[in-house]
Homo-oligomer: 252 residues x 2
């Protein structure tokens, strides 16, 4: 199988056992996100059939999926045209993974970080109004565990608890889209780990702020929950800024 994507970080998520569809999709997806297939470029089905040495049905199914992501447009008598990035479904988790694997990695991380900076404080505020008793208690418990893990210097555990904490706050907001958002953030965080862009040495203050959020939500003090979350986001944002100022890091 000849590839478009230059065999870097690509195709790692779709190894041999994954089926032809997944492998071709993975390769074309990374190639488009990575710019190896530039917007405006034109392919045709037979060319892809030859290149990947798969049947027409496989190629056609992949093209349908790519079209639904806004990556391509097919026209009779013309072929398959690569679309410009502004048409892409940048909220699709799969697209985010591909972009994290591309040179636009830093931009992707920044976009999502800004997005959560906007959303999570509001989610905390909503959560204070809507959370159930048990949910609130668990949130407080989780904050306590984070505090312990942070104090003990157990970074791995802290990171897991951190992600779980934010997921629960978003879940408690009662907004399905906020919950989904956490999946995207998780993509970024795990991607950040994968590409060795990890800072995350929990500050003393961050530990306290998470506890504040949990407590404020439990006491249904929306404004306090929001302002504590704003501070958490400011810290997270500063961390990210530090990352992309030492940018240019080619990374694997």
């Amino acid at each position: 199988m000849e590839r478009y994507s230059s065999r870097g970080a690509a195709a790692q998520n779709a190894p041999a056992e994954a089926g032809l569809h997944a492998r071709v999709l993975e390769d074309l997806g990374t190639a488009i996100c990575g710019g190896e297939l530039a917007p405006g470029a034109i392919l045709n089905i037979d060319e892809l059939v030859e290149r990947y040495a798969v049947s027409r049905s496989v190629v056609r199914e992949v093209l349908r999926v790519l079209a639904s992501m806004g990556f391509i447009e097919t026209r009779r008598r013309v072929g398959v045209m690569i679309r410009t990035p502004d048409a892409w479904n940048v909220f699709d988790p799969q697209v985010i993974r591909w972009r994290l694997a591309s040179a636009g990695r830093i931009a992707q991380i920044r976009s999502i970080t800004e997005l959560r900076t906007a959303v999570e404080p509001h989610a905390a505020w909503l959560a204070a109004a809507r959370v159930g008793h048990d949910e609130a208690s668990e949130l407080v418990g989780l904050a306590a565990k984070m505090w312990a893990a942070g104090k003990a210097g157990d970074e791995e555990r802290f990171l897991r608890l951190d992600i779980e904490f934010h997921r629960r706050v978003l879940a408690a907001s009662g907004n399905e889209m906020f919950v989904k958002l956490q999946d995207l953030v998780a993509e970024v965080l795990s991607g950040r780990h994968h590409y060795h862009l990890m800072p995350h040495h929990p500050h003393e203050q961050a530990l306290q702020l998470h506890a504040d959020v949990a407590q404020a939500i439990q006491r249904r003090d929306g404004d306090r929950a929001r302002s504590a979350m704003v501070q958490i986001m400011e810290q997270a944002f500063d961390e990210m800024t530090a990352i992309w100022e030492q940018a240019g890091t080619p990374a694997p």
Copy 2:
């Protein structure tokens, strides 16, 4: 062609000239979003081939797209299983359209309204830091036109300008995901129109607030831009609340 979706608002976006793929996708998408095909239900390809009287290739291509949206899961020896809503890509514009056509319409409108309530103030704040000279001027001009249209009572024109204004603010934030978000919001607003859920009688104060946002962004006063946008969002949110309190409206 026999349908799953009960021939209501469905299949209106994919009429006869659209091709078999689009029509089958439309019908299955609305059926799943509408709950006619419940999570856990199992289909198989041949059944769909018979039901829609199309070939296997059409069905398989549709299934691949639905799978990439998190709607279904296919397993050998089992068939095609409908997945639970928490697996759906609720940020996909197509999914949003289907949900707006379903009984969960109100929930969808609420989710997105909450999302933009969270995002737009932050976008305004970012825009103040990043906007270019021309962009800022145009924003001020746009706010002025809105003011005129609002005063003249030209609702149609006001609505168009309103959408354009918010799009530009999001664009000026320099965050690609924020821009994409506006597409989703536009889906909701036009859906709201389509399903006759329009309030929108521009208040005097709203006119002033839009002008405030534009001016603050031009003067690079992020905090003032944000707080004005917060107030706009509060008004928009109140409008929406009014809609779903008179809920139960079956609508077309």
